[in-house]
Amino acid sequence: MNNSISLNHGSGGKQTHELIRSVFVRSFGMPEPLTDSAILKKAGKAFVLTTDAYVVDPIFFPGGNIGKLSVCGTVNDLAVSGAKPEYIACSFVIEEGFPLSDLIAITGSMAEEAMKADVKIVAGDTKVVGKGKCDKLFITTSGTGILNNEREHISTGSRIKTGDKLIINGSLGNHSIAVLGARNNLSFSTPVESDCASLNRLISRVLDKCTEVHFMRDLTRGGLAGVLNELAEMREEGISVNEHSVPVDEPVRGVCEMLGFDPLYLANEGKILIVAGAGSETEILNILRSDPLGKDSALIGEITAENKRMVILNTSAGGSRILDMPSGVQLPRIC
């Protein structure tokens, strides 16, 4: 590893994993496999704990802002582990000179999102740093929720088996492209909005009706490719994905084609992968599609006995290839 931290270490891909393993796991001794939330047990009860820092730039973007994002992100991290999100704590690092009206708008949307997701924001902290010592506003949120014992397997995927189906709840890449557009003042002929949303209600509707959910993960940094590769590393089986089944909105596809991004690697803030037992996919898709947050849900692939520990993409052209773990920051093409 390098002697200093580079932006690649924050990309959610290989270098992020290396950093986590070589520094944080070594220092703190977390148990493998690493998941989005820790499962904690006390007196026969299980609850989950998660934490996340938000440094999005710009802090306001189409479809949300840093505050809404911080609540949705924490709620989703808890919900994909199978838990019911309950409480959130938040810390603000604010740059000197930050407009109060912006702070009020941001906390307002946090309150609104917390109400929608039925979670309570119960603790917080505020720090102000000098001009230029942070970029406008950073937020850290921690969340906790209660986990039903029957759902403990979901975050580690321990029940995954050959033939299980892969489902996602809609089109990929909207958050990344919306933020990229806002950051660079790109104007799209069809506006692209972030998919930023709390998915706990949608997820609990699925879990209440179906016991065959074997794994869930939100498709944030590193995108679908990142999550599938993490899963492939955790398991013995192989993973097969059909490119043509993965929904991507037209404007997002257009920007990706033009700038050389692959939607399978882009971050989402309202999308999850569900791995479910064969035979349960129709029921799950029906539940997801009946909700606005899952109307474009799709069956995108399955767990296979062959290609162990690898993710194979069946390309839209009819060929097949590896879908690798994201590496580095996605860069534009130069010729």
């Binding site: 200093s4 931290i5 580079s6 052209a317 290839r321 590896i322 690798d324 580095g328 010729c335």
Partner: protein, 361 residues
């Protein structure tokens, strides 16, 4: 999506693969010389759609891959100056120099900014009048017209803090070098975007001098497959010629306006290609009237020549003589996060593409 979906049509793809399978009569080796083609071929899984006796090999078509270490070293020396802002296309920042990379310099505090065009770099020069802005000009005939327009704009607006460090190159001399040096080929998949600027005639020397056919090709699966079919049929008929498959973008004459900008601003020069060494008249340097924008002239820096890692076989890979998995470093000590040779750096580099899409298959 219009102009994309038509070219990824599964029925059309199946028809083409079927026709290719039926036209095959012997072994064929075709080389693509555009990094965009290398990436597209593997991204769409094209090799898995072709009969085993059609081999696609990759040539020196990624501008990052053929860039010499001294260019990066020079940019790194500039980046260490307090009064300099380096502006560059994204892929270049990860290329290893002899001791560092622009990415590492950036992490250590150097002002290095990724831009999408030369004009964006010029805008940075405008808003930072106290700083010297160096734009790293890289690429073939595709990006050179953009750099030429930037230089003309800088001249028009009397910029005195904008400089170009050019490693712009032209494609045909490298293709000729590898044919002359004995790479065995049955034809070229020629770069569509280069030809859109230059016109198809720059490849006439291939059939005329070397009896080799070539098809100027687009970047979608049906484009690539149709070109493979056209090349196979050329070989079967023993009728090497320059054909344009990518007719929606390429003409015989090319983009006259872009050519004019390039000619006004650049003149040919000998250039260093990683893996090949010096190739006469294969580079583009600023003409005398624009010399004041040449970073080399204005701020000359000494660069000590550097030996490449002796185990790295990038040189043979760029000539199509070896494949990435024949390199002892491939996926072992050389991988995208720690590239030893330049072919592993860019998303369009041969080794990088193999690592991403073909490793362990």
């Amino acid at each position: 999506m219009k102009y994309i979906d038509e070219y990824r049509d599964k029925g059309l793809i199946m028809m083409l693969t079927d026709r290719i399978a039926r036209s095959v009569k012997r072994d064929y080796t075709f080389m693509e010389v555009c990094g965009g083609h290398t990436a597209a071929i593997h991204r769409f899984g094209i090799p898995s759609l072709l009969p085993e006796n059609i081999k696609l090999i990759s040539g020196p078509g990624c501008p990052v891959c053929v860039t010499g270490t001294d260019f990066i070293d020079k940019a790194i020396i500039y980046s260490e100056r307090e009064d300099v802002i380096i502006t560059t296309f994204g892929d270049l920042i990860r290329v290893p120099g002899s001791a560092s990379s622009l990415e590492k310099q950036k992490a250590a505090g150097a002002d290095i900014r990724v831009v999408f065009s030369g004009l964006e770099a010029l805008a940075i020069a405008k808003s930072n009048p106290g700083q010297k802005i160096i734009f790293l000009g890289i690429g073939f005939e595709t990006t050179a017209p953009g750099t030429a327009v930037t230089i003309k704009q800088a001249e028009k607006e009397h910029f005195d803090n904008f400089f170009l460090l050019s490693t712009h190159k032209v494609m045909p001399p490298a293709m000729e070098t590898l044919v002359k040096e004995g790479t065995k080929l049955d034809g070229f998949i020629c770069p569509g975007h280069v030809a859109a600027v230059t016109g198809s005639s720059i490849f006439n020397f291939l059939p005329e001098k070397y009896n080799l056919g070539c098809v100027i090709t687009g970047f979608e699966p049906t484009d690539l497959l149709q070109s493979v079919l056209m090349l196979t049929e050329q070989v079967n008929r023993n009728d090497p010629r320059v054909e344009i498959q990518y007719s929606r973008a390429v003409t015989v004459e090319g983009n006259i306006a872009a050519q004019k900008h390039m000619k006004e601003v650049f003149k040919p020069c000998d250039a260093y290609w990683r893996g090949f060494g010096m190739i006469p008249e294969s580079g583009m340097t600023l003409r005398e009237c624009f010399e004041k924008f040449d970073a080399d002239n204005f701020m000359p820096v000494p660069v000590i020549p550097h030996e490449e890692n002796g185990m790295c076989i990038c040189a043979d890979i760029l000539r199509g003589l070896k494949k990435p998995d024949e390199c002892p470093l491939f996926a072992d000590t050389c991988f995208p996060e720690n590239p030893v040779g330049a072919c592993m750096v860019s998303g369009e580099g041969v080794c990088n593409t193999w690592y991403k899409y073909k490793r362990a298959r």
